[in-house]
């Protein structure tokens, strides 16, 4: 066992050189950067989607009891999360602040023209249009508003972003696996001769294989650690400057999820290294 470790480490130092290490580090780094972008994107689109809500205007004729009944009916619709009552007075206040500069308009009103309303939050933003139409069918509902049009756009956009990001992730991961695997294998080609000699001298397949596996593991670990650590430190350093500039974008600033991502990268690197080393010897051993 001591022999294998010493051998794996020694040959990692002598042979694999900086090339496969660098390739491993570079690939893992790109993957990590992409992962961070994805994480933030998910956070942002999630935030956007969670800000979608349905405003249900209630007929003026409805009394307190009717309101309660309607509330229960709405709550019983599948997919409805929470529901808040917005009285006509509060509604006017909100409208005033929404109109901003043009709020002078409201001041000249003699009477509050707004009906009472419910604000409905749904569990899954994608279901908003369906739930809204179910609500509008209920008796006592005057009209339903969820930013029709805009919300559909937002949903379609976030869905497009999500699908694109997923496709990119698959492409990138595939490319990285391919590249790292091949680089590690290429860096071992010069040692096909060594394997040949070992076989001729009577080494068993396991004896030949171990150093390569350990070497792959070391290269994988070192390469991915370098980029994992620099990614972690670099991201947190950057983000602490960026976040205050765009406080309204929910960027990920806590270290925990970043640390999880980077640990995942290191594990991936080690796996790739071992696999590439293993596949390479297997091929040259012709077991």
């Amino acid at each position: 066992m001591r022999y294998f470790l010493a051998e794996g480490w020694g040959s990692a130092r002598r042979n694999v050189s900086l090339i496969s290490l660098g390739t491993m580090a570079a690939s893992i780094f790109v993957l990590g950067v992409f992962g961070l972008v994805m994480m933030n994107l998910t956070s942002v689109t999630g935030h956007l989607r969670s800000s979608i809500e349905i405003r249900v205007y209630v007929e003026d004729s409805l009394q307190a009891q009717g309101l309660e009944k309607l509330q229960q009916e709405i709550e019983s619709i599948e997919g409805v999360d929470t529901l808040t009552f917005v009285s006509k007075d509060e509604g006017l206040k909100r409208l005033t602040s929404q109109l901003g500069e043009r709020s002078g308009l409201v001041d000249i009103l003699e009477e509050n023209p707004l009906p009472d309303a419910f604000d409905v939050r749904v569990m899954n933003a994608d279901m908003t249009p369906d739930i809204a139409s179910s609500i509008s069918d209920l008796p006592g509902v005057l009209s339903v508003s969820y930013g029709q049009g805009l919300t559909e756009k937002l949903l379609a956009t976030t869905r497009l972003i999500g699908v694109t990001a997923l496709i990119l992730a698959v492409i990138l991961l595939g490319a990285v696996l391919f590249i790292v695997g091949n680089t590690v294998r290429l860096s071992l080609v010069a040692r096909a001769e060594e394997i040949e000699v070992m076989k001729l001298v009577g080494a068993t397949n396991w004896f030949i294989m171990w150093p390569f596996l350990i070497e792959g593991m070391i290269v994988g670990f070192m390469g991915s650690s370098v980029s994992g650590i620099s990614l972690y430190a670099g991201y947190l350093a950057c983000i602490n400057r960026v976040a205050p500039v765009v406080p309204f974008i929910p960027i990920i600033v806590e270290p925990a999820p970043v640390a999880r991502l980077c640990t995942g990268l290191v594990v991936l690197g080690v796996l790739m290294g071992v696999l590439a080393g293993g596949v390479f010897v297997r091929k040259h051993l012709e077991i």
């Binding site: 022999y3 040959s11 060594e194 076989k199 001298v201 080494a203 004896f207 077991i287």
Partner: protein
């Protein structure tokens, strides 16, 4: 006991290197394998380490057909049957010491026995002072001697020596022959291919001569044929 029974080896490119070879070599024998360049000597030896398998016929070691060994038995065959390769086959990124020690490592020899054995083998071939050199820092003859040391270090039961003195001066060659003969005395079967007429003639051992893939001569106490003749007819 080694037996060749109707062994034919045809390489993938169509060259027939051995054609219906039949012979028998007993344990403990010392055999010279001679023949002109391309006659099939290296092919003959490679069949015994299963570096290649015969196209037809059988190579038997004891009662086992070498071609029929399972893949995981092959390493154990190669620990018993050691080869001094014509092209040395040293590991370029290991020192002389480690190249030789490697042959013991793979046989799972006890670590504390490795150093004395390696040092003894290097001393036998006269390379004590080159132990920490890398192969590309050695002269041709020195590389050849490392390859010899690696083959003899584990006291194999069969030693195949493919042209072990090709790059050596006569004095060093005799030293090597002394080593091989001593190993042979201890019971190791030695099969040595060579072009060195002086050595063959000097030792009077069994000589198998190959020509164009066929055995054309098999003499107990043979000599290197043709020497006298060529020594007389000088060119130029």
């Amino acid at each position: 006991m080694i037996r060749f029974y109707e062994v034919t080896k045809i390489y993938p490119n169509g060259v027939t290197a051995l054609a219906s070879v039949n012979t028998q070599i007993d344990m403990g024998e010392f055999v010279f394998l001679v023949g002109s360049s391309g006659a099939g000597k290296t092919t003959f030896l490679k069949l015994l380490t299963r570096e290649i398998v015969p196209t037809r016929g059988q190579v038997l070691l004891g009662n086992r057909n070498i071609a029929r060994l399972r893949p995981r038995e092959v390493p154990y065959l190669r620990r018993k049957v050691r080869m001094i390769f014509q092209d040395f086959k040293l590991l370029p990124n290991k020192t002389v010491y480690h190249n030789v020690a490697f042959a013991l490592l793979v046989t799972e020899t006890a670590p504390r026995k490795i150093r004395p054995s390696v040092e003894q083998a290097l001393a036998l071939v006269g390379l004590e002072n080159k132990a920490s050199a890398y192969p590309d820092e050695l002269s041709g003859g020195e590389q050849q001697r490392v390859s010899i040391a690696r083959a003899i270090v584990g006291d194999p039961s069969i030693l195949l020596a493919d042209e072990p003195t090709g790059n050596l001066d006569l004095e060093t060659s005799w030293d090597i022959m002394e080593v091989l003969l001593r190993i042979n005395k201890r019971g190791t079967t030695v099969i040595m291919s060579t072009h060195n007429s002086v050595i063959v003639n000097g030792l009077q051992q069994r000589v198998i001569e190959l020509d164009n893939g066929k055995i054309v001569r098999d003499d107990r106490k043979g000599v290197y044929e043709g020497e006298a003749e060529h020594n007389a007819v000088l060119p130029g």
